[in-house]
Symmetry: C2
């Protein structure tokens, strides 16, 4: 059994190679640049963990883990274009550095190379792996589209927002675990449990992300909190606040969002506190974590094999940065 | 044996269904809109022809043909974004109608759905099909990148231009035929011949395309010729003219490209004629067609089975519109 850290180190060794041809450099340099920005490689490690939950690591799990990481980076390159984001991991985004057209193409090519890695899976599981990977890939695109749609809507319902988060963030975490499980020979019931463990964990992770952006300790969070509030982003906290505010609080929130005063963050947070949104978010996160752990416990696997996944859950959802 | 027209009709029946979920409509309507603009579906029919050259049609050839057509449409959606093209098939492009972000995502999703279709191939050929499809898909992206690179270069060498055309246009025609051949159980030598038949035909097709844009009969061509000349596009004709012009002709060409006078098209054509570029292009096209036919003849297949491919070649490269 490997810990999260062991698997992370082993995956880095496998993954930190050149994945693209050298020519035309005007295209492939952009791909290599972006991959070299690094990242925590959480998803591929989850694939390896999902695999090791059921058996020793199947050699096919490495290319599938790489395909997942390439897919994730493909979505980041394209999302950054759509969001007109100048920075990613404190470095220029691909479109900022190489132009939008090259960013678009380098993302396309990264998705294609992800399928090169999937195609390394030996025949028995290949169909099943591509089927789950593709369903998830489409869902992630749907989540991004809904996120963009919501930006243009005046109000978003909480259940719509949760569904968007599920698609945009959770399903890839869930599918990473399940893809590993498939390659570990897991049965249908165990596959569903590990998927739902990841899905619930992903939602808890996003609740925490929204929470930290509002309430995080700048020293641990690494950046000034309040970015989402400044940008009027619809987050778990804001959607709940708009839903539960009384008339006066609602008026205050809407005025703050429109007028952007200097003390906007502090005043929005004060409304959040008055509405009990911070406590509500902490409870909601706990609810999803509890549900995740229930699925973990229900898996018909010896308990000791579940230890790294418990570690992962704590790593993901109890961090303060 | 089916004719081009038979296969085209059969493929239309197979392909003219909904390929995408209905929700979120804000994403998938864009995909359905674009597919409904139609097109000649040449590439999937080439896949079916490549298949029938060796055997009765393998049921797996239908989804592979669909994957090829979806891939082709994915490239068109993304190319139109990069080229800022307002129209495609006389209708608004996806980004013109739905915005750039949705166009980007709807292209991404179309590529993913192409792999859903590939994944319908039964196990025996799946790895080989994905390997060839992916190599080709990357090459098409490389071709698009080179095309954009060339736009920024002052001069482009003829051999560089041919390589770009090969990547951007020819390899997908070639691979469509070869994918069909793979599913028909063709051996390696025959696979290479049918690929090279398609590759050479593709270059001949592009030479003709460039030629018709300059010299086409407007009544048959469907639009006023001279578009490439007006836009200073580097085409077979222009690259050759710049290469073979004498000092006075070169000066005239460069002035025309810079000053864009009203009679630009006629005057550029007159330089083309003086340099013998029209005749050169006709000869070059014949050279590639001859090479294509050599590969066709060398295939170890009864001659009558080659008839539809001869038809196809004539359809592609002797058209006047």
């Amino acid at each position: 059994m490997n810990s999260f850290e062991d698997l992370s180190n082993q995956f880095s060794k496998y993954f930190n190679v050149r994945h693209f041809p050298t020519e035309p450099a005007s295209l492939y340099d952009a791909d290599e640049y972006f991959l070299n920005l690094g990242g925590k490689r959480v998803r591929p490690v989850m694939c390896l963990m999902g695999n090791e939950l059921f058996d020793d690591i199947n050699p096919d799990a490495w290319p599938v883990a790489a395909a997942i990481e390439l897919f994730h980076n493909f979505t980041l390159i394209h999302d950054d274009i759509m969001d007109k984001a100048p920075l990613r991991r404190n470095q220029p985004t691909v479109h900022a550095k190489y132009g939008e057209s090259t960013a678009l193409l380098s993302g396309d090519v990264m998705l294609i190379v992800a399928y090169d890695y999937l195609n390394k899976v030996s025949t028995g599981y290949l169909h099943q792996v591509i089927r789950l990977f593709n369903r998830t890939a489409k869902e992630v695109c749907e989540g991004q589209q809904l996120d963009m749609d919501f930006e243009k809507q005046e109000t978003v319902q909480l259940d719509e927002y949760i569904r968007m988060i599920e698609l945009k963030t959770s399903v890839l975490l869930a599918a990473s675990l399940q893809l590993g499980a498939v390659l570990g020979g897991a049965g249908q019931a165990n596959q569903e449990h590990i998927y739902d463990f990841g899905r619930n964990l992903g939602i808890a992770f996003q609740i925490q992300d929204d929470y930290l952006d509002a309430y995080g300790d700048p020293a641990k969070f690494g950046k000034q909190p309040g970015g989402d509030i400044m940008a009027n982003k619809k987050t778990f906290l804001m959607i709940k606040a708009l839903e539960s505010a009384n008339a006066a609080q609602l008026k205050e929130l809407k005025r703050l969002m429109q007028e952007n005063p200097e003390d906007k963050v502090a005043r929005v947070l004060s409304v959040f506190d008055d509405c009990g949104v911070n406590k509500w978010a902490a409870n909601l996160k706990e609810k999803y974590i509890a549900e995740a752990f229930e699925h973990l416990e229900e898996m018909a696997v010896v308990s000791v094999r579940k230890e790294p996944l418990r570690e992962l859950a704590h790593f993901l959802v109890q961090r303060e940065h």
